[in-house]
Amino acid sequence: MIWNENIECASRDSMSQLQTERLIRTVKRVYHDVPYYRKKMQEVGLVPEDIRTLDDLVKLPFTTKTDLRDNYPFGTFAVPMSEIVRIHASSGTTGRPTVVGYTRNDIAMWAENVTRSLCMAGVTKNDLVQVAYGYGLFTGGLGLHYGTENLGASVIPISGGNTQKQIQLLQDFGSTVICCTPSYVLHIAEVLEEMKIDASSLKLRVGIFGAEPWSENMRRDIEKKLKIKAIDIYGLSEVMGPGVSCECTHQAGMHINEDHFIPEIINPETLLPVEPGEVGELVFSTITKEGIPLLRYRTRDLTRLIYDKCECGRTLVRMEKCKGRSDDMLIIRGVNVFPSQIESVLLEMSETEPHYLIFVEREGNLDTVKVQVEVQEQFFSDEIKELQNLTKKIKYKLESTLGISVTVQLVEPKTIERSAGKAKRVIDNRKI
């Protein structure tokens, strides 16, 4: 079923017209209502009247995660706080999270986009949807929750973790749809296997997975182990949350809800648009959002766009599965981790420049993080228990900052490779 056929199957001309009208309106609004955007536009000599067509989009300055951080917490909000009905946050490049605010209309728009996504995945109002994304500041849980209710399906808001309980509900409630990170569903599949529960005895038929990169191999693995159709959903809290785009049952790229988000692909080095169909960094301009409208927001995700009509009948442009990042952000068990966060924790603990190396591995289906830290002389103690306390202290501080569990290994000074340019801080051994 197509939830909003008028939009999702619109001709390119009528979509462009709708996008143009909404873009012009958004630019006018942010110029007048958000000092931050007015300043940015004035710096490049732009006035709202300069933006008349979609081709004018490239004249606008980019927005980045750093801009959101610099205006922490609410500096990029375009409406008074009395209009904001919900706040979410994701991890930022340093200690501060990236904060986003939603108006009542934003929440409704988000629910609409998630509902469209669920329909793309083949979910109907007769389904029981087990939402195993985390509920809280993270957008996954509540995003899927509202979209499911909006569709009229039954939502099971179990949130993330507690695998035994997940399995119990899959069995007892007969959930037909599960939403979580792809690595977590593989973990559930493993536990099912250990418990000798045959996946075909479950009623599960569709899985909607996102919040971290996953490969076609992983998809095949999930589909085979759980005997379901595995659908990729994309989103980021800055732009909205899950449901910015989603695959249909043809699994041939994620349909972008482009009546709300205009996508562009740029070369991350030159910042110029790439040739149509080429891979580059995905950039979004939100054209209906009220809480935080974003103009040309750099997602750092690398992908390409497909404008051909999909077999499902939708004309919405599709984006391929993300191929990587143009920055050093790691996505570990759905959590964004920046090496700079680890650095700032270590800096707090010593006077000197910290030398560290992050190893990311995939053990079974769960990502693990090991941080090697050089033992500088000011850290070094002759006693084992002191060094073990130090390890524990670093581990505790890292875990409370990053929000994921890590192991810490002390290594000798100067064993971590120094480089003249940008230090190599991450060794990612995951085969995704």
Partner: protein, 141 residues
């Protein structure tokens, strides 16, 4: 009575101890006693050498995490019950010990002790007239 012991942080990987001994050997530094404390990830080499200050310098120059720790060396007769006698005294006088290691040669047994409070430990052992080695004796061994 205080002896300077060298403590070196070592990762658990092959060849590290070998490298430390090579560096000390090339610098003409003799080792009188050592022990290694180990965990699954790392170890600490504790060593008594002929010239602790010079050893500290050469190891630092070779990028080892190293420091000097104050320990004492108790010398007792190499006979049954000698160690028990010393430990009973420390126990009764409530002198906590972080770690110790020992070596015996002929008539005598030497025990390197790292007490939490070095000065207090020396005081107690001297009160009971136990034999403590001077650093000059030990470094020459």
């Amino acid at each position: 009575m205080i002896i300077k012991q060298l403590s070196v942080f070592l990762e658990n990987k092959s060849g590290r101890l070998c490298e430390v001994t090579n560096i000390l050997g090339e610098a003409g530094i003799n080792m009188s006693a050592f022990s290694i404390a180990d965990t699954s990830d790392f170890g600490i080499l504790r060593v008594i050498v002929s010239d602790p200050d010079k050893a500290l310098q050469v190891l630092r120059n070779n990028h080892f995490s190293v420091n000097l720790t104050e320990v004492i060396c108790l010398s007792c007769p190499n006979v049954p019950g000698a160690m028990a006698k010393a430990l009973n005294i420390l126990n009764e006088e409530q002198i906590p010990i972080e770690y110790m290691y020992a070596f015996s040669m002929g008539e005598v047994a030497n025990v390197v002790i790292k007490p939490t409070n070095v000065r207090k430990c020396i005081e107690v052992l001297q009160k009971y007239e136990l034999d403590l080695l001077k650093s000059s004796d030990l470094y020459k061994m």
